[in-house]
């Protein structure tokens, strides 16, 4: 099989900010066009991403155990966790919305953390899967990550909308803080991971 011409074996570096090609050679090259530091591979990508992913897994526990909202309707109410909120949506006969919330608040964060861990393990232990499909997984993970903010926006809207003192009210709970942190951490994790590391496995 003839070797594909990559930037690295052509002696070039891509500036990730402005996409200019720069000749490698100097010790700490800067992009002449936008002034960013350029690297052939993101430095410390593996260790930073591992740290973020492990933090994300830990925070999933409080995010799912602690209540994320406290709903009072006509005087009575109880705190809701993510799961109990979804179950009560199903009991109210709103199955499509329950599925949507389930996808955004449970499936997306877990899938994202598992997916990035899988990619990290691939690079760490030099497992050779189809690099094309791994990149596809990476792009999919980066694409869906922002949709887990859905629950937080919904809580913010409901908190403002249902604000009638003792009659009816919605207030956020401590689980929401943990959940918000999970979302931010997974966004940073997928940003820090350098997908070019997957393709480097093929070269060696």
């Amino acid at each position: 099989m003839n070797r594909e011409q990559t930037l690295r074996n052509s002696g070039l570096i891509l500036c990730l900010t402005c996409h200019k090609l720069i000749r490698a050679g100097k010790k700490h090259p800067r992009c002449p066009r936008c002034g960013s530091l350029v690297h052939s591979r993101t430095p410390g990508s593996l260790s930073t991403t591992w740290a973020l992913v492990i933090t994300g897994f830990w925070l999933l526990i409080p995010a799912n155990i602690l209540p994320i909202t406290q709903v009072v309707y006509l005087g009575d109410g109880q705190p809701d966790t993510i799961i109990s909120g979804i179950i009560s949506l199903i009991n109210d006969g709103m199955l499509p919305i329950a599925i949507l919330v389930f996808l955004a608040s449970i499936v997306v964060p877990i899938l994202k953390l598992l997916g990035i861990s899988f990619l990290l393990l691939c690079v760490q232990f030099k497992w050779t899967f189809s690099a094309y499909h791994c990149t596809l997984l990476y792009r999919f993970i980066s694409l869906i990550g922002r949709w887990s903010m859905l629950d937080l926006f919904m809580i913010s809207i409901l908190t403002a909308l249902v604000d009638m003192g003792a009659v009816s009210s919605v207030t956020p709970g401590p689980g929401a803080t943990a959940f918000a942190t999970v979302v931010v951490i997974t966004l940073f994790a997928s940003k820090r991971f350098d997908p070019r590391l997957i393709w480097d496995l093929k070269e060696t």
């Binding site: 990559t6 070039l12 996409h19 403002a160 009816s168 956020p172 070019r196």
Partner: protein
């Protein structure tokens, strides 16, 4: 192994996701180019990028104020009424002590989309006038790092779910802010799509003395 000297570096592009060196498609072709190895989008073509971005970002900025301050939804439970605006959603959470969450919502749903429209307006105006090319580097970098934090589309879905969820509890109806918000969402998405960052970078490079 170096690149052959006969090939100019301007005719080559690199894939940020798999490090492949790709021949740049000729600029006459008006379609998107994808990486042949991993399928990532490399070049997005947009027609008349600067003028369109300018027009769309001005309209977006105009709609921003009513979308933020007019009520998105109005609710009536047995005579008790409530309404929500984007700003009130943030302030209310701040009041209950969840400052980190309210800052995050403020950042993703109001600050970042607003700054993006401002930056697109400023950048496309300056590029159109051909003025101050070297001053545009920082705003363009800021714009590129902010785009992934703009979440108006996710917020829209949040409004819809809140609307359907509260239907059983009382009378809920869309407020005037919602129509402005939908307009803003469309304009903000279109202005980001029409802005060609690659073109902006090459214009800045060419005009910098």
């Amino acid at each position: 192994m170096g690149i052959p000297l006969t090939i100019k570096p301007q005719t080559l592009i690199g894939c940020p996701n798999c490090d492949l060196l790709v021949q740049r498609p000729s600029s006459k072709k008006r379609h998107d180019a994808c990486c042949p190895r991993c399928g990532s989008l490399l070049v997005r073509s947009s027609l008349d990028s600067i003028n369109r971005t300018l027009a769309l970002s001005i309209s977006g900025l105009i709609l921003f104020i009513p979308a933020c301050f007019l009520p998105l939804l109005e609710l009536n439970i047995y005579g008790h009424t409530g309404s929500c605006t984007m700003i009130k959603g943030v302030l209310q959470m701040m009041k209950s002590g969840y400052w980190w969450m309210s800052c995050l919502v403020l950042f993703c749903s109001i600050l970042v989309p607003f700054f993006i429209q401002m930056l697109l307006f400023g950048l496309s105006l300056a590029l159109k006038l051909g003025a101050w090319p070297s001053l545009l580097v920082r705003p363009l970098k800021l714009y590129q790092s902010l785009t992934e934090w703009a979440m108006l589309d996710v917020y829209m879905l949040g409004i819809l779910i809140a609307l359907i969820k509260m239907e059983d509890y009382g009378d809920i109806f869309p407020g005037p802010g919602l129509y402005c918000f939908i307009g803003l969402l469309v304009l903000a998405t279109l202005s980001i799509l029409s802005f060609d960052a690659g073109l902006a970078w090459s214009l800045i490079e060419r005009r910098t003395p």
